[in-house]
C-alpha cells in the first residue's frame, strides 16, 4: 500500500519514487506545493476509490498521513 502511495505521489510530482519515503511531505520538496497537494489527493482518491474530506486536505503533511483513509476503505 505504501509503495503504491509513493508511486502515485512520485507520478504527480514528476520525481523518482526513490526520492520519497512515507515521511516525505510538502515541506520537503519544492515540487510539492499547494497545487501538487490537490493533484496528489485527486490521484489517490481516484486510484483507491476513497474520498478525503476537504477540511483535511491541508492537514496531510506526510505521505503516511494518507494511510488511514485507505485503511478505512479496506
Amino acid at each position: 500500500m505504501v509503495e503504491k502511495l509513493i508511486e502515485i505521489v512520485a507520478g504527480a510530482l514528476r520525481v523518482p519514487a526513490s526520492t520519497l519515503t512515507p515521511e516525505t511531505g510538502p515541506g520537503d520538496l519544492q515540487a510539492w506545493d499547494s497545487l501538487a497537494q490537490i493533484n496528489i489527493v485527486s490521484e489517490i482518491e481516484a486510484e483507491f476509490g476513497v474520498s478525503i474530506p476537504i477540511e483535511q486536505v491541508t492537514e496531510i503533511q506526510h505521505i503516511r498521513d494518507f494511510l488511514p483513509y485507505l485503511e478505512l476503505k479496506s
Binding site: 497545487l35 489527493v41 485527486s42 481516484a46 476537504i54
Partner: protein, 564 residues
C-alpha cells in the same frame, strides 16, 4: 523535436494543465481571472513572451457566474469575442485557439423554464465560428466536444474546484493537455503525407480472390457497414490533402472490379494516386511507390490487417509508420480517428473550408459592428471600476490578515501578519493599516488590497506592506491607490516615502510595479535577501505615472493616525 512556446489563458485556474505539458514551453497569465485583459493589452506579459500559440480555455459556468439575464450574458460574450478578434488581428503571427464552452445547467428550476445555457453555448459557438472564418489565425478548440465525449461527471471535479479553483478532474486535465500538446506538436513536426492501404479484410471484409465480388462484406448497413464507415473516414482524409495509395497482394483485375463496380465501394480508383496490386513483397512495392510519388518513406503510413505483412514492412522499412490493426473491426472508424490524430493531424483548414469561408465573410460585418474599444485604456475604463479605500476597522482585520498570509504575486514585502498583530498595529502611533475593496461592472471583487504605512523619521513614511489579490491585477489599481496615499501624506506634511521590495519566487508582478515608479533613490540593498528600499521625494511629485481608470472613494479619517 523543438519545443513550441505557448500561452494558456483562462477564466479558471489552469496551472495544473500547464504543468502536464512537458514537451513545450507553456506560460500562464498571472491572475487567471484576467484573460480578456491580457488579450486587450498588447503590452501584457502574454504578448511579451512572443508565443507561437495562445490558447483560450473558457469555462462556461465561471463565465456565467452571478449573471442570469440572457441578453446581458450574450452582450458580454460579444464583448469578449471582440477583444479576441482584435488581438488576433493585431498579432497575425500568433495562432489563437479559442475554446467552445460547456455550460452545465445551473440552478434548480421548473421543467417548463427555458434552458438559457443552450442559448449561451450556441451564441458563443456561432460567434467563434464566424471569427474563425474571418481570421486566418483564429481557430476553434473544441472543449465542449471533449466534455461531451467523456462526460461531465468524469471531466469536472467539485472538490478540486473548491480546493483550488481547478475546474477539471485530473482525467479532464490530462485529456485537455493531450489535445493542446497535439496542436503544438503539429506546428513543430511535419505530418505524414501518404496513406497506403491493403484491400482484403482492410477496405472490405473477406478475400476478393476467394469470395468474389458478391461475397465480400461491404454494405450501407449491417456488418458490412464497418468497412464502408472506415472508407468514409479515409475519403475524408483524402480531402484534407493526404495522398492515398493501395498496396495489395491480389490479381489486379479482381481488385479493380471491386473499385469500379461495387455499389458500396466509396473509394474509387481515382481516389488513389498510386497503386501496386501484385504479388511482390509489400516493402518493395512501398519503396517503389515512394519513388513514383517523390516522397520519403518516412512520410508514409501503412495500414494492413495482416500482422505478418505489417512486421515484414516494419523490419524492411522501419521509417514507415505501421499502426496496429484493431482486433475488433467494429472499432475501425475510431481506430482511424486515432491514426488521423497521431499521423495526419492538421490545424489548417481544407480548400473546401476556405471556400465556405467566403460566404461566412459576407456575414462578418456583425463582428465589425461589435465593441470597437481600441486600447487597453478604453478596456479598463469600460470596466467601470470603483475602489473604496478605508482604514481597516474591527471587521476588517480577519480578511486583511488572510490577505497578508495568502497573497504571493502582487506583494511587495510578503510580510505575514496575524489578525491580532494587525489590530495592534492599527492602534500603534504612527502606523496605519488600509484595506480596499474593488467593484466593477462584472461584480464585487470584495476586499482585495492591503496597505500598511508606518511613520519613521519626521516627514518620512514607510510602506511596510502593499499587496493586492491577483484577480484585480493589471488594471493599475495599485498605482492609483499609492498615488492617493501619496497625496494624503503630502497634505499632512510628509515629504518622503520609502518603498521596499523583497523579491520572492512568485512576486514578479510586484517587481513590475516598483520598477514603474518614478524618481526613487535606492537607499538600501541587501545582497543576501535581495530586499531593496527606495526613497521618493513626494513633496512636489508622485512616483506614480500611470493614468487612473477607476473611481476612488475614501473615508476622510484615512490618515488620522499617521498625522497625529
Amino acid at each position: 523535436m523543438n519545443a513550441a512556446k505557448c500561452a494558456l489563458l483562462s477564466n479558471v485556474n489552469v496551472e495544473s494543465i500547464a504543468r502536464q505539458i512537458q514537451r513545450h514551453e507553456v506560460h500562464i497569465a498571472q491572475g487567471y481571472g484576467a484573460w480578456t485583459q491580457e488579450l486587450a493589452d498588447p503590452a501584457s506579459a502574454t504578448f511579451g513572451l512572443r508565443p507561437s500559440t495562445i490558447f483560450l480555455i473558457i469555462d462556461g459556468a465561471e463565465l456565467l457566474r452571478g449573471q442570469s439575464e440572457l441578453q446581458l450574458i450574450l452582450a458580454e460574450l460579444d464583448e469578449h469575442l471582440a477583444w479576441i478578434e482584435r488581438a488576433a488581428e493585431l498579432s497575425p503571427d500568433i495562432k489563437f485557439f479559442v475554446s467552445t464552452i460547456d455550460v452545465p445547467a445551473r440552478a434548480l428550476r421548473p421543467v417548463k423554464e427555458e434552458r438559457i445555457e443552450r442559448r449561451v453555448e450556441e451564441h458563443w459557438q456561432k460567434g467563434i465560428t464566424l471569427a474563425s472564418a474571418s481570421s486566418s489565425n483564429l481557430y476553434i478548440f473544441d472543449l465542449k466536444q471533449l466534455i461531451e465525449e467523456f462526460g461531465r461527471s468524469h471531466l469536472y471535479s467539485n472538490k478540486r474546484w473548491y480546493l483550488g479553483g481547478l475546474r477539471f478532474s485530473t482525467t479532464g486535465e490530462r485529456l485537455i493537455a493531450g489535445e493542446l500538446e497535439r496542436i503544438l506538436d503539429a506546428q513543430m513536426v511535419a505530418r505524414k503525407k501518404c496513406l497506403l492501404l491493403d484491400l482484403d479484410n482492410t477496405l472490405w471484409g473477406g478475400v476478393i480472390g476467394e469470395d468474389g465480388i458478391n461475397g465480400i462484406q461491404l454494405s450501407e448497413t449491417g456488418a458490412g457497414a464497418r468497412y464502408r464507415d472506415f472508407q468514409l473516414r479515409i475519403r475524408e482524409l483524402g480531402k484534407m490533402g493526404v495522398i492515398l495509395g493501395l498496396v495489395s497482394k491480389n490479381n489486379e483485375a479482381d481488385a479493380l472490379e471491386v473499385l469500379e463496380t461495387h455499389e458500396h465501394m466509396l473509394l474509387k480508383k481515382d481516389d488513389f494516386a498510386a497503386m501496386k496490386i501484385n504479388w511482390s513483397p509489400k516493402a518493395e512495392n512501398i519503396a517503389a511507390l515512394a519513388q513514383d510519388l517523390d516522397i520519403g518513406t518516412d512520410s508514409i503510413v501503412f495500414i494492413d490487417d495482416n500482422p505478418l505483412e505489417r512486421e515484414a514492412v516494419k523490419s524492411a522499412l522501419p521509417e514507415v509508420t505501421v499502426p496496429d490493426f484493431p482486433a475488433d473491426t467494429c472499432e475501425l472508424s475510431s481506430f482511424f480517428e486515432r491514426v488521423y490524430k497521431e499521423c495526419f493531424f492538421t490545424i489548417e483548414s481544407t480548400e473546401e473550408d476556405r471556400r465556405r469561408t467566403k460566404t461566412y465573410l459576407a456575414n462578418a460585418k456583425r463582428a465589425a459592428e461589435r465593441t470597437t474599444a481600441s486600447s487597453i485604456d478604453e478596456f479598463l475604463d469600460g470596466l467601470r471600476t470603483k475602489i473604496l479605500l478605508t482604514r481597516a476597522g474591527d471587521e476588517d482585520f480577519g480578511r486583511a490578515a488572510q490577505l497578508t498570509q495568502k497573497t504571493n504575486q502582487f506583494n511587495l514585502t510578503t510580510r505575514r501578519y496575524t489578525e491580532q498583530e494587525l489590530r495592534t498595529l492599527q492602534s500603534t502611533l504612527g502606523a496605519s493599516v488600509y484595506i480596499a475593496s474593488v467593484v466593477d461592472k462584472y461584480g464585487d471583487n470584495g476586499k482585495v488590497i492591503v496597505g500598511i504605512l508606518r511613520r519613521e523619521a519626521p516627514g518620512t513614511a514607510e510602506l511596510d506592506t502593499f499587496l493586492m489579490s491577483c484577480r484585480v491585477l493589471g488594471r493599475f489599481i495599485e498605482d492609483q491607490i499609492l498615488d492617493h496615499l501619496v497625496s494624503e501624506l503630502r497634505r499632512d506634511g510628509f515629504s518622503r516615502l520609502r518603498v521596499s521590495f523583497m523579491p520572492t519566487r512568485k512576486n514578479a508582478p510586484a517587481r513590475a510595479f516598483v520598477e514603474r515608479l518614478q524618481g526613487g533613490q535606492l537607499v538600501s540593498s541587501d545582497t543576501e535577501s535581495g530586499e531593496q528600499t527606495w526613497e521618493f521625494d513626494i513633496s512636489t511629485a508622485s512616483p506614480v505615472t500611470k493614468a487612473a481608470h477607476a473611481e476612488l472613494r475614501t473615508t476622510h479619517e484615512l490618515l488620522a493616525e499617521v498625522a497625529s
